[in-house]
Symmetry: C2
Subunit: 221 residues, 2 copies
């Protein structure tokens, strides 16, 4: 059965899947692509290698995708879609104080990292290899996530939870540089879990913003 | 006059230059390469474009280099060599307290960024495009710079200037993620200079480590 080009295009939003493929099967293919991109690097990764990991021939995999970039997009966009979920969950905390809201965001963000460590590393490293149109889709999500954190920072400056002298634009970028950098160096094989890492990073970030130690919560272990 | 291959190889250490070329002329060529890499991206940059900017024909530029990667190495390695200079200057501050030493490092590091903004962005983005041998040379410098900061963090934990609960490995990585991220988003066209940026980042980092506000020094503007 032929699949219309539009329906075949993977959109990587974690629920829908291309054409006639079961979502579980599509996720297996995307996971296999992520493993191969991680091991060989995107440029050197071959469709044959990805297909072989999921028991397909190269030609059969091309039935579902047009190019290797479709799989990269599924990974990068899917990772950012998970970030949007964190933002949407965070909106439910609106009545909490800004340090609590930012702390929850950092913990959930690092939770996503822990659940998909390879995906986050690829999303940071290979975003620029996507077509301009696909980069724009991802950058829209990034902008929305960035705005969410910046709003919390501005709320915290306004209500005195954070230092009035900080520049919200700068610290928001600092916070994302800390969060996005983690996937490039953290290996849970270190004697530390993602949960413990999240606790350290939450404290580093909230202190950096000048939050009252009382609001940061329990001291580090 | 023929130039021996070894002498022709640019080593980008800010003083020596390939073969018979005057250092000033070599620096002009490397600067032109940096501009072209920045504008077009390394992959799309053409030797012709670089040569044209310094009034050379492509063939004449190839007299001094073997490949485009020679110019990338000059930029990336040169940028890290400037980092080593900051470390060496920082060693002179050994008798100061850890927050002062780390604060001085952050300020000088961002000073380098301000002097060569395009270089730092290329160094972060395109490091992986160097040959494994050249990446190893750069990674050795990176490790030395990393060790310098980690030593300060450990000294600060030992003498109580920083929070005893922090993990020196994690926060050192957080600090470098903040510093290395800057070149990807900061534009001095914003109404803020590199000096003001450095002051914000210094406070963010020192607070993040739990330094006493007294030792951080003057409040933000």
């Amino acid at each position: 059965m032929a699949v219309a080009p539009e329906a075949r295009r993977p959109i990587g939003q974690g629920g829908r899947s291309p054409g006639s493929l079961r979502p579980e099967r599509w996720n297996e293919i995307v996971d296999a692509a992520g493993d191969v991109f991680d091991e060989k690097g995107y440029a050197a990764a071959r469709i044959e290698d990805i297909a072989a990991r999921v028991g397909l021939l190269k030609g059969s995999l091309y039935y579902y995708i047009d190019s290797k970039e479709d799989l990269l997009f599924a990974i990068v966009d899917g990772n950012h879609s998970r970030g949007i979920v964190v933002v949407e969950e965070g909106a439910a905390l609106e009545s909490a104080d800004p340090p609590t809201r930012l702390g929850a965001f950092v913990e959930r963000w690092i939770g996503i990292l822990g659940a998909n460590p390879g995906y986050a590393a690829i999303a940071e490293r290979d975003l620029r290899r996507l077509s301009p149109e696909r980069q724009a889709i991802v950058m829209d999500k990034r902008a929305r996530i960035h705005r969410f954190v910046r709003d919390i920072v501005e709320d915290g400056i306004a209500d005195g939870s954070f230092d009035a002298g900080i520049d919200p634009g700068i610290v928001t970028n600092n916070v994302f540089d800390v969060l996005n950098g983690i996937s490039q160096w953290f290996h849970p094989a270190r004697p530390l879990t993602y949960e413990q890492l999240a606790e350290h990073v939450r404290c580093f970030v909230l202190r950096g913003l000048g939050a009252d130690p009382e609001t940061i919560g329990p001291a580090l272990p």
